[in-house]
């Protein structure tokens, strides 16, 4: 197990009149090589939880977080080594860029880690290539001359250049236009596929999670209420409705049809899959109708 979270609690503004408890005992495991999607209604503690993965928060008192053998709750845990292993990309990561050119900014991480100067250049180029930016073109560009989506990819490259084993993305597509979204998601999928990185990503788009993730964890009320393959999790319509998250648009349509008496399965996540499932159910009903013994007409129209 690459990351193990046990009974983790977190309270913001502890000891002040603004005290709020956001995590009430989270249990979660991240497996080597998987892509885990983390979803949940707003304020459910997603962003807080991911900051435990690289030791920006460490458990105080209750709970335990072990990342690749490093127990962060223990005093004197090597947090710097941890942060090299776990690359965390925050929301709106382009806000953290501070150097003049793309190359310099991406080199910041490796330089902090004390990577020998001769190795920094190749690492920067590798990281830029990994996020789909040609180093020859972008290395010496000024950051302020880039588009929003490009800046975000530079910021991701800045984290990648540290050669982490796990990449954690906190809502990587927030505030991007549709094209930017697709680019970032493709980049993440490629990193996972080609470099074999373990990826955890927080997202507000269930559709994105359904498309990319191997497993989904649903956080609500400061607890993990459901973990499993996307098809399992997103077809659990009742749980998702109860926590106010809702489900995929496709599953929602299927669930409504089911309520109206159509025999459809809720495990079809993609639009085409869902369409096929509906067609299958329709054909099945037609066939039943045509066969002797059955009567009446299909309940509802398609």
């Amino acid at each position: 197990m690459l990351i193990t979270v046990e009974n983790l609690e977190h309270t913001y503004m502890a000891g002040t009149p603004f005290e709020t408890k956001v995590l009430h005992g989270v249990d979660l495991e991240v497996r080597e090589g998987e892509m885990l999607g983390l979803v949940g209604p707003s304020q459910s503690g997603k962003s807080t939880l991911v900051q435990y993965f690289n030791g920006l928060f460490v458990p105080r008192g209750k709970g335990r977080v072990v990342v690749d053998g490093i127990d962060t709750s223990r005093k004197g845990a090597n947090l710097k080594a941890l942060r090299q292993k776990v690359g965390l990309v925050f929301q709106y990561p382009e806000h953290q860029l501070f150097k003049g050119t793309v190359g310099e900014d991406v080199a910041f991480g490796p330089r902090c880690l004390g990577v020998p100067p001769a190795e920094i250049g190749p690492r920067v180029d590798g990281a830029l290539r990994a996020v789909g930016l040609d180093p020859e073109v972008f290395r010496d560009r000024y950051i302020f001359a880039l588009s929003g989506g490009q800046k975000r990819r530079v910021a991701i490259a800045g984290v990648l250049a540290m050669n982490p084993r796990i990449m954690v993305f906190d809502d990587p597509t927030a505030g991007l236009d549709p094209r930017g979204r697709v680019e970032i998601l493709d980049t993440i999928a490629r990193l996972h596929r080609e470099q074999g990185l373990t990826v955890v990503f927080v997202s507000n788009s269930l559709e994105d999670v359904a498309r990319l993730a191997d497993r989904v964890a649903v956080l609500a009320g400061g607890r993990v209420v459901r973990v499993g393959r996307p098809a399992e999790v997103f077809s659990d319509v009742d749980t998702l409705a109860r926590i106010g998250l809702g489900t995929l648009q496709t599953v929602d349509v299927l669930a409504r049809l089911r309520q109206k008496g159509w025999d459809v399965r809720l495990t079809a996540l993609g639009v085409e899959e869902a369409a096929r499932e509906i067609l299958r159910a329709y054909r099945a009903r037609l066939a039943r109708q045509a066969s002797p013994g059955a009567g009446g007409c299909p309940g509802g129209t398609l």
Binding site: F18, R83, F90, H95, Q96, F98, V159
Partner: protein
Amino acid sequence: MELSRDITLGQYVPRNSPVHRLDPRTKIVLWVVLVTLLFLVRSFTGYLLFALFMGWVVRLSQIPMGYTLRGLRPALPFIVALFAMQILFSGSLYPESARVLFHWRFVRMTVEALYTYSLTMVRVVLLFWSVTILTLTTSLVGFTDGVESLLGLGRRIGIPANELAMVMVIALRFVPTLVEELERIMKAQMARGADIETGNFIQRTRQRIPILIPLLLNTFARAEDLILAMEARCYRGGKGRTKRRQLRVTALDYRAIAVVVGFCGLMLAYTWVFRPRW
């Protein structure tokens, strides 16, 4: 890591206490009076009495005592460093007759300096505490209205009351926002391997660059957004604006004024008539 826990400036803790219910103008004026008193009282016992009075105000306000003092925590290293430098290096300003506690080359510590700067330090702490209590018990809207109304008295001599109040309120309003932003940027850079807590003075100063530059850039971007938002709502200053919330002075305000004036009288009598040595 959580910075905002220690920042109390610009925060407001809603409660229904007599201190909260006071007219903001009364509160601001009384605060100015108390700060003036703070500068007139120049003795440790005087400050102790002052602290007791402020403690009583905090109890009335129903805000946890610890929280009102928490804001001091991040400021403490500066206060202590300043204090240390003053008592160590200002000795040469004192005459020959001063009692010297410790002398080594340019370091000359005198009893007089120790006394003066200890007083100053206590005063700074009390000053900070009293501002914190003022902002913790006054909502931002109340504060603006109060300041604007008070500055309005000077409108005839050309003081742009509304604009000044607006500037002040924006500044206060953005303290928590900027703290949040600062925390986010610090964390983002720490996630990239930045070490912001160790190293010597020069290293530590250089380590601030990756934090300060994004903070500054984002602050400018935020200011621009704010300008746009204000223009989009046709903001053009306070001329001809009416208010939904009218400020009203009640019996409670007169009582508060009486208490503070009485306290000031006693304190001044104590300072000037009794002339305490400590």
